[in-house]
Subunit: 212 residues, 2 copies
């Protein structure tokens, strides 16, 4: 499945660009927040939101009265970008300093998921955010489902961009007495904070502990 198009071709540093579904999917599956871009009255907006992937489809959701969701539901052109920061790359010059990252850009047009697929899509999003949680929580009511808009975006036109490894300095800069290397970065989960009204008899679930 080639996801490359003229619009998704990485022009700067083309060696960092990847267009195979396996790479794109793997990056998407390593994140649970994306930034969605769309245009309203000629002005671009970029809004963060959770997401989930099922095969070649991305799901996002929000309140049925959300401006963002309403705009996107009309099928206007959108961009969904996922960025995972892996580290600061400290070179001996600012010019060659960089970051290690994995990112994906998906272009396309979203549409509302069919009512009978809505709960499935919500499961996909929930499980992508915290695997194991859905089985434990209360099911959505009819009213909640009606108050939630879920959109699907096909992964048909996309690109991944990846940088890994240490700094690459100008040859003459290696002799400078400057520390150089990578500072790894990772979004880490801390100690869970129980809700004030949670009975002490209810332990932290294993899927929450695993998230650490």
């Amino acid at each position: 499945m080639p996801l490359k198009s003229p619009r998704t071709t990485v022009k700067r540093l083309p060696k960092r660009g990847r267009y195979d579904a396996e790479t794109v999917h793997a990056i998407l599956d390593s994140a649970f927040i994306c930034h969605v871009g769309f245009v309203a009255h000629g002005q671009p907006f970029v809004i963060p939101t959770g997401f989930g992937r099922d095969g070649d489809t991305l799901y996002i959701h929000g309140s049925a009265v959300s401006r963002t969701l309403k705009s996107l539901a009309e099928g206007i052109p959108m961009c969904l970008t996922v960025t995972i920061l892996d580290g600061l790359v400290l070179a001996r010059s600012g010019f060659h300093s960089s970051m290690n990252y994995r990112s994906v850009v998906v272009l396309g047009n979203a549409k509302p998921v069919a009512p009978e697929k809505k709960e499935h899509a919500l499961v996909v999003i929930s499980e992508n955010i915290l695997k194991g949680r859905w089985d434990e929580i209360r099911r959505p009511t009819r009213k909640e489902l009606n108050g939630t808009t879920v959109l699907e975006l096909p992964i048909e036109e996309a690109s991944a961009k990846i940088r890994t490894g240490g700094p690459i300095d100008d040859e003459e800069d290696y002799a400078m007495p400057i520390w150089a290397g990578v500072v790894p970065l990772e979004l880490k989960a801390g100690k869970p904070i129980p809700d004030e009204r949670l009975p002490e008899s209810i332990p932290v679930p294993s899927y929450v502990k695993r998230r650490r």
Copy 2:
């Protein structure tokens, strides 16, 4: 300085919206990556990049041949969004589950910084990414400065959106035997990895250790 406009007014959950410069600046200063949105040939694009703030001005930079930077330098409408994830909010239902976050959306038009301000802007970006680094690294050459585009975006039309605290469940759901609370999230720095060609005599700098 009121940063609120009809376009930046938070409509969904308006209590989460903030428009004072102090709040907007504090969130911007807690991040070093933003997502920039712009439109090319009717298609929105969302691209991650580093940034820095100096007073009421945001700086971003990139290669002089970058499509993104070239487009933005023309002064087309753009959106710069910063998102800091603070935690997963696990409610007893999916509907009330959420995330804790601090985000800022800045709308406006960028322009290239004057040549004599370019190095200052690069210092601002570098120091925002890793405070203390700039003083140690090699200064940019004339050729490097010419090969780098730096843009400034005024913080004139913006909004912040913040969610904090635990889940807020439907009253009847509190009796369910489901763990609920917050899983804190934080982008953490790991153990620095020295460059392969770094002499062992050069120690990890204090500003890198502090970043942990």
